[in-house]
């Protein structure tokens, strides 16, 4: 990361990234659990780990279901963990609508797995201290989430 981060506090530094395979429903979620285990090894307290894992998991499911595959990158500072989840998929046309609880374009197959109730993005927002979403039709989707350490 570069100049955009300079805000007094030390900018989160890159730790590790994981590849998310699009459409692979059997593996979906495994990246988030790997990221959770990474931060557990770093010594994160359980309540923060849980928030990070929930955010990562819902975002990963979206990349698997809609984004056609992408990446989860983890950054760390002494005060914050930053997750960047990105894909080169179709993007989100109406982000305001997508952020509303209950709005979903999930297929029946996704619903059968227990997802597609339109609760993912709202729950990501609820569990994050700062959330930025960059998306446009045909331009992919990039979520940047920061969760502060207690």
């Amino acid at each position: 990361m570069s100049a955009e981060d300079g805000q007094g506090e030390a900018a989160p530094e890159y730790l590790q990234s994981f590849t998310i395979v699009g459409g692979d429903f059997a593996a979906a979620g495994s990246v988030s659990i790997a990221a959770k285990n990474l931060l557990k090894a770093v010594g994160f307290p359980a309540p923060v780990l849980r928030r990070v894992a929930i955010v990562a998991f819902e975002a990963e499911m979206n990349v698997v279901m809609y984004g056609g595959g992408g990446e989860l990158a983890v950054y760390l500072s002494p005060t914050t963990v930053r997750l960047v989840i990105s894909d080169q998929g179709p993007g989100i046309g109406d982000l305001e609508l997508a952020m509303q609880e209950g709005w979903s374009t999930a297929t029946p197959q996704m619903r059968e797995m227990g997802f597609g109730a339109g609760m993912g993005l709202p729950n990501i927002k609820k569990n994050s201290d700062r959330l930025t979403i960059d998306t446009a039709p045909g331009k992919g989707t990039r979520l940047q989430v920061e969760i502060d350490l207690p």
Partner: protein
């Protein structure tokens, strides 16, 4: 009211599929859902999860949400790969022939509660 998974197993006449070494964990709340996003949004850690789904995402959702054990209702047995995944996480899995309604009712009658009675404000 914090029964062990072992007690819950007896109350539900359930069969343990994996995780028999972790049955003495005590459970502080219960959550029932077929919607994994609902588990991720509303469940609390240290809960037991009752569900009618049996795909790998149930086990991953439980791991992410800090769930201590999973009960599959109406005899819904997960595939071996799902059991192996739970084994990897050290997550106990059980199956009961009871319906969701009956399993939940029995646990409630024994004193277990869900988040909306334990911490009504926590949906915010």
């Amino acid at each position: 009211m914090s029964p062990t998974i072992s007690q819950i197993k007896d109350w539900l006449d359930a069969e343990v599929l994996t995780g028999s070494e972790a049955l003495e964990r005590s459970i502080s709340m219960a959550h029932s859902a077929d919607l994994m996003s609902d588990v991720l949004a509303f469940s609390h850690s240290d809960s037991i999860l009752l569900t009618g789904l049996s795909n790998p995402q149930v086990v991953r959702t439980a791991e992410v949400a800090g769930i201590l054990g999973v009960v599959f209702v109406r005899g819904k047995r997960p595939a071996q790969v799902v059991v192996e995944l739970a084994e990897e996480y050290g997550l106990p899995l059980m199956v009961t022939n009871l319906s969701m309604f009956d399993a939940v009712g029995l646990l409630f009658a024994r004193g277990l509660r869900g988040w909306s009675l334990v911490e009504p404000g926590s949906a915010a």
